[in-house]
């Protein structure tokens, strides 16, 4: 496998600078002469690292410490800290009667949105990387759901789904497919489905563009060689395109899992009419614990927040483990 400098989307590379950057110089340095790196004065090195360090300290570490601190406190409904709660908040979260439902919703939400997004994006990226008249406009159009604020998109879908005036029900009824309107957001059997549709809709643009870039990075000569050897289109796709797309697939999956897991506005907006936690994921659960539910407890919510971070780290860790394992065994 070529190391093909993974198709990293720009914002991510620059934001995640901590790790990759610190490794790059050692490779580049070796080419030029290994000794030089060590000769930089530590103060100078620190100066160069300062922005990144400040970012990590200010944006990651400080809030994390505050969050942990809050999770160990006992808070009044007003937000006033009344004392230390020890691990009490964690116990309360774990003993919450709706935790099971919330976790199940989270799994369904993340797996469904990411899986459907990936499959659809693979197809759409294939289509958008072919040249056809007006391709540029179609590509622009695809970006729009990404560019629009999630709250606005969600609110728009609330209108589309509406029971009384929603255009979706209007069209379905007009076509004679249904007699009665469907209560997309209020009927328990439809709510999750309706939210997943929106989740996929907003995740598509980013994923499609990652895949378009991935497709563009596949060398033409490999394809040509395969064609000359008489491989059918399906064989070419399965044995060449997909394996070469693996870095892109991996990035798209990991980032989408994180984004979708952390997605707040879609679920919060589409689910706001439903009482209780029947359709909440761990993220909206955390918010409701702090501000909407009868618990109204900042400490408990912070504890739930800690669980969220641990959960996503574990999930991503497991995923990477599986990917590496596959790579090792495929050699």
């Amino acid at each position: 496998m070529t190391e093909s400098s993974t198709v990293t989307p720009d914002p991510a590379t620059s934001a995640g600078s901590g790790h990759p950057r610190s490794r790059m110089p050692s490779r580049a340095g070796r080419r030029r002469g290994a000794g030089r790196i060590g000769q930089v004065h530590p103060v100078v090195a620190l100066l160069w690292l300062a922005p990144a360090l400040a970012l990590i300290l200010g944006v990651v570490l400080y809030p994390a410490i505050k969050l942990f601190d809050a999770s160990r406190g006992e808070y009044s409904i007003t937000g006033l800290r009344k004392g230390d709660a020890g691990w009490g908040n964690y116990v309360k979260v774990l003993e919450h009667p709706d935790l099971g439902t919330v976790l199940r919703n989270t799994v369904i939400w993340v797996v469904a949105v990411v899986a459907i997004t990936i499959v659809l994006s693979l197809a759409l990226a294939q289509f958008l990387s072919k040249s056809f008249p007006g391709r540029r406009f179609v590509r622009w159009a695809v970006i729009i759901p990404w560019a629009a604020s999630l709250v606005i998109t969600s609110q728009l879908f609330v209108l589309l789904y509406d029971y009384n005036y929603g255009i979706i029900n209007h069209v379905l009824q007009g076509l004679g497919l249904i007699d009665q309107p469907i209560d997309f957001l209020g009927n328990d059997s439809w709510t999750m489905f309706s939210m997943v549709v929106v989740g996929v809709f907003v995740s598509l643009p980013f994923t499609i563009f990652v895949f378009i870039a991935g497709l563009g990075a596949i060398p033409d000569d490999v394809m040509e060689a395969a064609t000359v050897d008489g491989a059918s289109p399906w064989q070419r796709y399965w044995n060449i395109t997909l394996p070469l797309m693996r870095p892109a697939l991996m990035i798209a999956t990991v980032l989408n899992v994180i984004y979708v897991f952390n997605s707040f506005p879609i679920i919060y907006t589409l689910n706001d009419r439903n009482p209780g936690y029947a359709h909440d994921t761990t993220i909206t659960f955390m918010y409701k614990l702090a501000f909407k539910s009868q618990e109204h407890d900042v400490g408990m919510s912070a504890a739930a927040g800690i669980f969220n971070v641990v959960l996503i780290l574990v999930v991503v860790g497991i995923y990477l483990k599986i990917i590496n394992w596959r790579e090792e065994t495929s050699r």
């Binding site: 809030p63 937000g79 009419r273 009482p275 009868q294 991503v316």
Partner: protein, 420 residues
């Protein structure tokens, strides 16, 4: 090599993603650089966090108010207007970070009084103002014998009906009893064409408001003296009646999951025969001029005299070193008839003072509310437990429509008795 490098990249991305996620989550924490003054010294600048009642009027009023306040007293008032969606979260964050404003405008106060954060009326409210505030509101603003919850404005609910639909269905006058209401709802629903008899919002936005109106008009209460009465026979009867309306399809689809705003929209579109509304809804209807509507007292179960459900919001004063005088000057100015009543009129709500009631009397449209206002029943806002019970009601009351009314109310009663 390849694989370790790649996983390093991905790990970096993962961390970046989490960090970005964390950024998105924490709103507003840093925006409250406040005017917390030095200890003991008199504060010259105080901060008001006000709720946004309307885009057009709230900020305009408070900005003008701050100017007058500065001219008259020499103190500076920093105004921050926050939407209702966020104000709870923002105020909680401010207090958590020890950056409470000097004055906070919110729909609850008792928990803050319980936490010892507030000035009571003896410290910051001029005596003349206190005696001018309507007795009902003083009563519900008093926690453990002291008056903390100073009302900024009030509203009272009333029964709205669509005259056009009533005429089409052959109904001559608004119902006086629940039996009549049910019969009327049947006639309106029978008109077909998507018309619903009664728009019943029991979704999490405001279900305690809707239910209060019903239960007060069945002689029920949330709390009687020191005892919670959420699952009293009267209240179970009330919720059972609402369930019946829903089961007979006389309401809009899925009332347990309809928020108040959606019910209002339905009424504004002319598709709902009846709804519980308040003066801002009337304002919106007058502006649209689409629906010919009438306002009447809410029907009672047995035909006895109608009661109304009143709501006030509060302007509460936080104890902070050296801000007492400035805060007192604030209330002195706010409760001047030309200030408070101007604000209330612009926002389309109801007065909180006796002078205000007199001044508003001249408006015939407000008569139906003003007559009932002095005797309005409120939810037990003077009990800090209610602040949590209210949330429990919002989240769970709808369950009584799809499931058992008695079990739902029993559970809420238990929540209240356990202290929320």
């Amino acid at each position: 090599m390849t694989s370790t490098k790649k996983s390093a990249v991905v790990a970096g991305l993962a961390i970046a993603g989490l960090a970005l996620g964390a950024c998105g989550g924490g709103t507003g924490a840093g925006t409250t650089a406040g005017a917390s003054g030095g200890s003991g010294q008199e504060v010259k600048t105080i901060k008001l966090v006000a709720a946004e009642y309307s885009k057009d009027h709230t900020k305009a009023f408070w900005d003008a108010f701050a100017k007058t306040y500065k001219d008259k007293t020499g103190y500076t008032l920093e105004v921050q207007v926050v939407s209702w969606d966020n104000i709870d979260q923002q105020s909680s964050t401010m207090i958590q970070n020890n950056q409470a404003p000097d004055i906070l405008n919110l729909n609850a106060y008792a928990s803050y009084a319980k936490d010892g954060l507030l000035y009571d009326s003896d410290a910051v409210l001029p005596a003349a103002v206190k005696s001018d505030i309507l007795d009902t509101f003083v009563k519900y603003g008093t926690y453990q014998g002291k008056f903390y919850g100073f009302p900024d404005l009030s509203s009272a609910r009333a029964f709205f009906y669509n005259k056009t639909l009533f005429k089409q269905a052959g109904i001559n006058e608004p119902p006086k009893t629940w039996t009549e209401l049910e019969a009327d709802a049947k006639k309106i629903t029978a008109l077909g064409n998507g018309n619903v008899g009664y728009a019943l919002p029991l979704g999490p936005e405001e279900s305690q408001g809707e239910f209060s109106m019903w239960l007060f008009n069945n002689g029920g209460t949330w709390k009687d003296g020191d005892k919670w009465t959420i699952n009293s026979d009267k209240n179970v009867e009330t919720l059972t009646f609402l369930k019946k309306l829903a089961d007979e399809k006389l309401t809009q689809n899925n009332p347990a999951r309809t928020n108040r705003a959606d019910a209002f929209d339905l009424f504004k579109s002319g598709k709902a025969g009846m709804v519980i509304g308040f003066s801002p809804l009337a304002g919106a209807l007058d502006q649209d001029k689409k629906v010919d509507y009438g306002v009447a007292p809410f029907p009672t179960n047995d035909g006895s005299e109608s009661k109304t459900f009143g709501v006030t919001d509060y302007l509460m004063a936080f104890k902070k070193p050296g801000n007492e005088k400035a805060v007192k000057a604030f209330y002195d100015l706010y409760y001047q008839p030309d200030q408070v009543n101007t604000f209330i009129k612009a926002e389309g709500f109801l007065p909180v003072t006796k002078t205000g009631v007199q001044q508003f009397q001249s408006d015939p449209k407000l008569k139906v509310y003003l007559d009932t206002l002095p005797n309005a029943q409120l939810t037990p806002t003077d009990d800090p437990t209610w602040d949590k019970v209210k949330l429990a009601v919002q989240q769970n009351l709808g369950g009584g429509i799809n499931g058992s009314p008695k079990a739902t109310l029993d559970k809420l009663q238990q929540t209240a008795e356990n202290g929320g």
